[in-house]
Each structure stands twice: as structure tokens, then as C-alpha cells.
Amino acid sequence: MRLVGAELLNAREILPGQWLQTYHAPALATGSRAGQFVHVKTGDLSGFVLRRPFSINTADVASGTITIHFRTVGRGTEWFTHLRAGDTIDMLGPLGRPFEVDPRSQHLLLIAGGLGMAGVRALADEAIRDGRQVTLLFGAASARDVYPTSLLPDEVEYVVATDDGSMGHHGFVTELVARYESWADQAFACGPEPMLQALARLAATRRARMGVASLGRKRGAGKAAPKGSSTARRKAFLQVSMEQRMGCAVGACLGCVVMGSSGTPQRVCREGPVFASDEIEWEGSWGR
């Protein structure tokens, strides 16, 4: 984790109200892994008190740049849209724990809902780089909100679902999962909590339903690594990237927790944002 001055090189509104910004920040480009995020400070005369967390959407070591992809949902995100090329802002990162891909996984299923794309986007690059096959299922409200293919690596199989059927599958992205479940060695998801919850249910029943191709089973039930450890996550079929309002983003304030299946709150900024789906207490009303 570092404090770095990141210079805005380029900003584009890639979708209505959705921005893609490229920053020069070599330390972050080099030091980060897919699934991690940055905590970004607004300007001195902005009057904002808290930083804003954004996933590292892509990282390019060669050019020493990272991108963030965000939607303007409030005053803070709007503030960032007023930045101009050449402006430098203060980023704290890379933060949180990354996605853990099992070395033996060949087929990665990425599932993104809306802005969740920014959460898994970097993993697509990493996986392609490592010679894996990637299918990306993306769900949006309608065609106008669909992330442009042009911004994805050609190698990625990109499947779209829209709530209104204006593009791709008519319905929820989760409905597409069944088709790829057996093909996939592991799945990685980011998006609205109900979507992640639905996926977690599928994952939980997966072994029972399909009997096959669960990495867990392959290596025998015996030597299970401790929950939450990188090893355990690497073995998990489904990893999810969670969101929560944040204060410090370094584990100090306990503002960002989600309830763990262990019964103890887990810090999204420290134990997360990526979790194995079985680490989270999906049922129950705590904090919902």
C-alpha cells in the first residue's frame, strides 16, 4: 500500500454517466493484482471528507498507467468528472486482496453486473496473459448500458444479458450461468449483492448438482486450508468482489464489514474485497 500522486492522462464518457479515466501511476500499475482497488482523494477545495474507493479496472505496466471505470452516482463521483488531463490526484493503493486463480484452472467464468465490470475487468487481462480461456457474462439494465466489446480483449468470449431484452439474453445475467457452469473451472463475480447472493447459492449446490469438475473434490476433501486463506480461496469455485461504504480502506475503522459465515464481521477493505463465496453469510438480516 502506498500514497501516490496519479496524473490524469485521459478521461472518456464510455457509457451514459459512466467514465473511463487513465492515470499515470507506475507504482500502482506494477504493484497491483486483479481484484484490488484504490482509495482516491478529492481535491483540497472540494469540501469532501472521505476518499472514494474504485477498483483498478486495468493496469498497464509498460506505460505505468491504470484506469478506473466509474459511474456518477453522487457528488463525489461527479467531482472526478470535472478533473482535466494534467490534474494530479492522490491515490492510496493497491488495497485489499486480489482474485486467486488456481494454477490448474483453464476455463475462467467472469460474471459482472453493471459497474461490477470494473471489478473483474483486470482479471480478464491477467487470465488472457496467462493463456487461460475467459468467458465474461455481463448483465445490464438495457442495451445503452452495455459495456462496449471494443474495450475488451478479443480473446474474451463476451455474453450479454439485459433486463429489458434490448440486447442479448432477456433477463438476469445469473440465468446464463447454467450454460457455462460445467465448462468453467472457476468463477469470479462482481456486481449488485442480490446477483452475488444468487451465484453463491448456485456455487453452494454445485457439487451436489453436477458431481463433476469441482477442484475441491479433485484434490480430495481431506486437507482443507483455513477459510479465508489464499490457498482456500484458490480452491474455491466462486470468488466474489464485495462493496461496502468505506472510511479508511486499510482495515483500521471497521466501517466496511460484511458478516462472515464464521460469524465474525469481515473487512471488505482488508479480508476482501474478494472473498470465496462460502466465506460470506449470505442469509440472515445482519446489515441488510
Binding site: 471497521l254 464489514v257 464481521p265
Partner: protein, 337 residues
């Protein structure tokens, strides 16, 4: 200390040549290297920011509120931003005093910076028992009582809003510990002065002021309050004028050191709090946006002293206080605006 605060004159220990004396003597052997501390709940247990902050540059660390038993805290959301501030309702999530000692005390013992354990409870017995277990543990430099908690014995009435209850818990804890005892005041009262006096008389070594103001925010659909706990604590620059007022009032009625907290984001804020009688300052919310702020404030304070030809920062204390004439006021809250 009291008169020193009011007049800026105090026995200044001869500083090592050239260097500015920033040390703060809180009594019972607790001498802070400098008057910039980090506030409870905003700096965890001191280890979380270690990548970007050298804790040994700080004047002190107040760790997250610690209770007798482990607490999972309040449902989420727990934090949100407000104009010029933020609301939090962590609900004192912590692993319990024994786990805190087990996990962190040895690390703390290795640090130069004093670690003050912030203690919370729901009954006098809770507080007493937690402090008893902290007593004598290497690495624990002092106690800060967070009395903005409901006194189950008194039907949930907060200790902090009732002079008698506040003095009661202070005295009870005082009896079981020789550790430096700080008691943290709540701003959610009509008149802080009788409460501050009662706590001082009950044996506190210092007062810290202030804790958060009670507030709420709403969820986007306005079907319910946003925070899982409904109520949250307002902190940050928004509350600075209130914190400044309370420190100004308290410094005039007690003779023990006052440590100021509330919306510090710059050296000007530090100097303001010193000027109204604070002997030291805690930085909280501002750390989230600017983790290196507290450390920078230490050197900036040193620079200011140098620039003004001071050997110590103490002459900066109490400059805005009325020169105390006779006994501390016992008047009720005057008419304000």
C-alpha cells in the same frame, strides 16, 4: 497545568539545545513525545497504516474502543459522508480486552509511541474489569474511558450526559488502576462544565474532548435511516466549532490537561485548540483522507515554534482563554447566539 493553560506560563523542562520541547506530561509518568495523537477508532490498533505512517513519529495512539467481551458491532452500513463530516456507527466491534492484550500488547511494548487503550462498557463493573486486566501489561501506557455508552444500570442513560454517573465510573476505575486515566467527554450535553468538573474531581488525570455528535442519515429510498444502527456519530471538520467551544469551556473549569478532538485537518486547527486551552490534540476522521497528516502536524508545529522563537509549544496553550479571575465559573450555559 490548569494555570499554565490559562496563562501559557509553565515550568519548561530545559529542551535539548536547538530542539523544540513538544513533550506533554499527562501525569503518572505518562509523557507524550509530542501533542499530536491519533483518535480512537480511526487508527485501529496502530498497525493498519504502518505502510505509510511510522507510528513512532506520533505523540500517542488511542486504540479502538475495547470491551470486556468481544463485540461484533453494529449492522452495516456503518459509515457515510455528510457535509463537512461523516457519520459512523461501528458499535464498538472489538475482540474483547483479553484478545486485544494477546494480539497487540507485545507489539505496542516495542514501540516508542505510547498506546492508550480506549475502554468502553455497559456498567461500572465492565469498565473496572477491563481496566483491571489492562493494569500492568507492558505496552499499555494509559486508559481513555469512552463514557458515551449506555449505563444499563441506569436504564440506558449514557454515563457521559450525567455528571454523577460520569464521576461514578471515573472514581471506580481510578480505584483499581495507577495507569494514567483519561476520560472522554461527549458533546451531546447542554452544559459540559459540571460534568467535566465532576470527572476531574473523581480522579481523572486528563480529559479528552470531544466524542462524536449524535446524528442520522437516510437510505436512498428514504424507507429507513441509512446506518444499520439508525444513529451514528458525527465527526470531522463540521463539528470543529462545537469541539472548540467545549474545549474552551472545559479548560476554564478544570486544572487537569485537556486533550482536544474534533475536526482537526490542519495546523491551524491544532493551534486553535491549543489556544483555547488544549494541552494536546487528537486527529481522527482526517486520517482517512490524509493518513500522513498527524505526522506532518508534528513537524509543522515544531516549525511554528521555531519561527516564533519558542523553546516549547506550551506558550501556544490558552492564549485565547480569558485570564482566569478567581474560581472556575459554575454558571449555567449562557445565552449564546
Amino acid at each position: 497545568m490548569g494555570s499554565m493553560k490559562a496563562t501559557g506560563r509553565a515550568p519548561v523542562p530545559a529542551p535539548s539545545l536547538g530542539a523544540i520541547d513538544l513533550s506533554v506530561d499527562l501525569g503518572r509518568g505518562l509523557v507524550l513525545p509530542n501533542p499530536i495523537l491519533v483518535a480512537s477508532g480511526t487508527f485501529g490498533y496502530g498497525i493498519e497504516y504502518s505502510d505509510v505512517v511510522d507510528v513512532n513519529d506520533l505523540g500517542g495512539i488511542c486504540c479502538k474502543g475495547t470491551t470486556l467481551k468481544a463485540r461484533i458491532g453494529n449492522p452495516t452500513p456503518r459509515v457515510t459522508e455528510t457535509p463537512g463530516g461523516m457519520l459512523n456507527s461501528i458499535g464498538l466491534q472489538n475482540p474483547g480486552v483479553d484478545a486485544v492484550i494477546r494480539k497487540y500488547s507485545s507489539t505496542w511494548a516495542g514501540w516508542k509511541v505510547p498506546v492508550i487503550v480506549n475502554v468502553a462498557g455497559e456498567s461500572v463493573e465492565d469498565y473496572v474489569e477491563v481496566v483491571r486486566r489492562l493494569e500492568g501489561i507492558p505496552g499499555i501506557a494509559g486508559i481513555e474511558l469512552n463514557i458515551s455508552c449506555p449505563n444499563v444500570g441506569k436504564g440506558g442513560l449514557q454515563f457521559a450526559i450525567d455528571a454523577e454517573a460520569a464521576a461514578g465510573v471515573t472514581a471506580a476505575v481510578r480505584r483499581v488502576t495507577d495507569l494514567p486515566l483519561l476520560v472522554k467527554l461527549s458533546p451531546n450535553v447542554a452544559d459540559i462544565r459540571p460534568i467535566a468538573r465532576a470527572i476531574a474531581d473523581a480522579g481523572a488525570d486528563a480529559l479528552t474532548a470531544v466524542n462524536t455528535l449524535s446524528g442520522i442519515a437516510l437510505s436512498a429510498n428514504r424507507a429507513k435511516p441509512l446506518l444499520g444502527n439508525i444513529y451514528g456519530g458525527l465527526s470531522g471538520p463540521a463539528i470543529k466549532p462545537v469541539a472548540l467551544r467545549i474545549v474552551y469551556e472545559v479548560a476554564q473549569v478544570v486544572r487537569i490537561p485537556v486533550i482536544a478532538i474534533g475536526g482537526v485537518t490542519s495546523l491551524d486547527d491544532v493551534l486553535d485548540f491549543l489556544a483555547v486551552g488544549a494541552a494536546a490534540v487528537q486527529v481522527g476522521t482526517a486520517i482517512f483522507a490524509d493518513p500522513t497528516l498527524p505526522v506532518r502536524l508534528v513537524s509543522e508545529l515544531e516549525e511554528v515554534c521555531k519561527a516564533r522563537g519558542l523553546e516549547s509549544y506550551r506558550p501556544l496553550i490558552g492564549t485565547a482563554l480569558p485570564v482566569r479571575t478567581g474560581a472556575p465559573s459554575s454558571k449555567g450555559a449562557e445565552y449564546r447566539p
